[in-house]
């Protein structure tokens, strides 16, 4: 256990972000199953440690672009859960007034510039945001989150080249969640089809500083991001972080399914873990791992952890209620916001 390498405040702040991400996604899945929205969607369950620790290491002025698995990044950045759920439900009170939805939600007021649901699209946008930072001679950084599948897109490779040539302050965060994914042979879908045996070899070919880390280890993610931001802020960017997670079983099917339901008590009482996906919960759930480490290290008691858990659940439920009670986007506003 390396959690002692982070101070208590930072650890608990990362943990709080993770709790919000997790219960947000469980709420989204429930709202989908209640038929409150119809579109395809992607859940961040299982990857919270990566997003939360990266976002913890960033400053308020840093800029973020992400990919379709975006809810966790938005909530981790501090976007209002009610407005974010409202966006997913197509409500007028949504972050983007119902024009983006789950696949395109953004929150520019928090430096959260874009969700591009075009695979790899965010890598170019993040490099561009970094180019904007360089043009303005500022010291903030841009972060682009994407999955391992994005490395199959030419735009991403082109963006590595330009980011390296122009020393752009951009951190590419590749969330490799494919380990253990079900391929087409088992009735699932292929997630990464590549001839390379190591994704970091691609950015490394352009001289980009690369690290491979355990994406469920908040210490590893926080430290890698802190080092990457240091490099970027001192003109030594870009950086590439590959964070491994094991795909949450609920994300393996074509459409997300409620494969597991979070109960933090399982963190200190593994005998409670039941069901067909018990192995994933026991070995790979970053939320349980972090909760367990926090208690084991004495940063908080079980009761204190559960109080935080309850607080996050309450905030998400309030957000869901706000969203459900909000009016749908008004059809007469459909022409608004095409141009500035």
């Amino acid at each position: 256990m390396t959690i002692s390498l982070l101070d208590r405040k930072t650890t608990l702040s990362i943990f709080d972000r993770m709790l919000m991400m997790r219960y947000f996604e469980e709420a989204v899945l429930r709202l989908y199953n209640e038929r409150r929205f119809a579109s395809h969607f992607h859940l961040y369950i299982g990857q919270e440690a990566t997003g939360a620790a990266v976002l913890e290491a960033l400053g308020d002025k840093d800029l973020i672009c992400t990919t379709h698995r975006n809810h966790g990044h938005l909530i981790g950045r501090g976007s209002d859960p009610g407005q974010t759920i409202a966006e997913i439900l197509g409500r007028s009170t949504g972050l983007n007034r119902g024009r983006g939805g789950t696949l395109h939600a953004s929150d520019p007021s928090r430096g959260f510039l874009s969700t591009s649901a075009i695979v790899g699209g965010c890598a170019g946008l993040a490099a561009g945001a970094a180019f904007g930072i360089k043009t303005k001679r500022e010291t903030n950084v841009a972060v682009g989150f994407f999955g391992d599948g994005a490395l199959e897109e030419g735009l991403v490779i082109e963006s590595f080249n330009i980011a390296a040539l122009w020393k752009l302050p951009v951190i590419f965060v590749c969330e490799n969640n494919s380990a253990g994914a079900i391929g087409p042979q088992q009735g699932g879908y292929p997630t990464a089809i590549t001839a390379t045996d190591s994704f970091t070899r691609l950015p490394a070919a352009y001289g980009i500083d690369c690290v491979k880390i355990d994406g469920t280890d908040i210490v590893a993610v926080y430290e890698a991001t802190t080092e990457a931001t240091r490099r970027c802020r001192t003109g030594q960017g870009p950086a590439f972080i590959e964070a491994f997670t094991v795909r949450w079983p609920g994300s393996s099917p074509l459409w997300p399914e409620p494969a597991t339901v979070t109960d933090l008590n399982e963190a200190w009482d593994p005998t409670r873990i039941k069901g067909p996906h018990a192995a994933w919960v026991r070995d790979h759930d970053p939320l349980l791992r972090t909760a367990r480490d926090i208690v084991a290290h004495g940063y908080a008691s079980q009761d204190e952890v559960m109080a935080r858990d309850k607080d996050a659940r309450t905030r998400i439920e309030a957000g869901a209620t706000f969203a459900i009670e909000s009016p749908m986007a008004l059809s007469e506003t459909v022409y608004e916001h095409v141009f500035a």
Binding site: I118, G132, V338, A340
Partner: protein, 334 residues
């Protein structure tokens, strides 16, 4: 007034924009193409060495980087070069830059300019003669600028760089050497305001970019026969000045629309449809379109000439609307 080249007018607009706003950057500096006028960019390169980035041949990435940099609050001017290359960067152009503001519900601005050189240029053939303005017009969220004169290009480029929206600035490769009156002082030409390049009472010809000059020479020649042609140059397709076009057709009752984009679903087709819907009662005869035929651009000169909207084709089209019964007199137009 002082006469300078179209290329010189572009350089003046870029210099003023770079001097005035430190958030303006140039991604790609071969804005004037690779012809003899390219040397005019040397002074800009010397003056703003840290604001000009010549990128690798990665159109998708530079289009994307332009969009991202604009989202981050700067005003990049991204030169794509030959317009046919823009297809390589199509996804970030139509999936990111064009839609980002709408997807954000109005909370994001994307003030990027994408510059490209379109059109038939003599031997460019299928992959170096593209005119993507109609395809771009079918991607809502982009402003589209098609200047035809040195005066317009300077003022429109100033407006494009100041615009808070993603703007596609399409120059014709053959316009660079054209000379015209250009004030030395700074000015802007507003978007969405057509210019009547020549007034006339008998027939309206709507044209943009290089084919404005085919329209003007056709008008000049027909004036000798007593036919007065009004040449309307919309200057921007998005936004489009419906009013000036319709007012002209109201007075003339006859319309010819010229463009270099392929005929089907093209610029000429869209403008014709707008007039048919909004100004049908003004029309005394069917609208005639002169556009590129729906075939890839060929290389050999006689073949390229055969698909070019020339002065002769414009004259034939005008004669056809002046005397619709003389259909047989018209050559095959496109």
């Amino acid at each position: 007034m002082r006469k300078i080249s179209y290329a010189g007018a572009i350089v003046e607009a870029l210099r003023t924009s770079l001097s005035e706003d430190s958030t303006v950057s140039l991604v790609g500096s071969y804005v004037l193409g690779l012809g003899p006028k390219r040397v005019l960019m040397d002074s800009i390169r010397a003056e703003f060495p840290d604001r000009i980035y010549d990128p690798p041949t990665s159109e998708a990435a530079i289009v994307s980087i332009g969009a991202g940099a604009a989202m981050a609050g700067t005003r990049p001017f991204v030169d794509i070069g030959t317009a046919s290359f823009s297809y390589v960067g199509w996804s970030p152009l139509v999936n990111e830059a064009a839609v980002a503001r709408y997807m954000s519900g109005g909370s994001l601005r994307v003030p990027v300019v994408y510059h490209m050189l379109h059109g038939l240029r003599g031997g460019g053939a299928a992959q170096h003669s593209g005119s993507p303005q109609a395809m771009l017009w079918n991607a809502p969220g982009l402003e589209i600028v098609l200047p035809s004169s040195p005066y317009d290009v300077k003022g429109l480029m100033r407006s494009a760089i100041k615009s808070d929206n993603p703007t596609v600035f399409i120059n014709h490769a053959r316009l660079m050497d054209i000379e015209g009156d250009v004030p030395a002082e700074d000015y802007t030409v507003p978007f969405g305001r057509a210019d009547i390049k020549r007034a006339g009472r008998d027939v309206t010809v709507v044209a943009t970019s290089f084919v404005v000059h085919a329209a003007l020479s056709a008008a000049e020649r027909l004036a000798a026969d007593g036919i007065e042609v009004e040449v309307v140059d919309p200057r921007t397709l998005v936004p489009l000045d419906h009013k000036t076009i319709l007012n002209s057709v109201r007075q003339t009752g006859r319309l010819v629309v010229i463009d270099e984009a392929p005929l089907s679903c093209g610029v000429a087709s869209e403008i014709s449809a707008i007039v048919a819907e909004e100004g049908f009662e003004f029309l005394q005869c069917p609208i005639v379109r002169v556009a590129r035929p729906d075939i890839p651009v060929p290389f050999s000169k006689p073949l390229e000439d055969a698909i070019t909207p020339t002065t002769e084709k414009v004259i034939a089209a005008i004669r056809r609307v002046i005397d619709p019964r003389a259909k047989n007199a018209a050559t095959r137009l496109s």
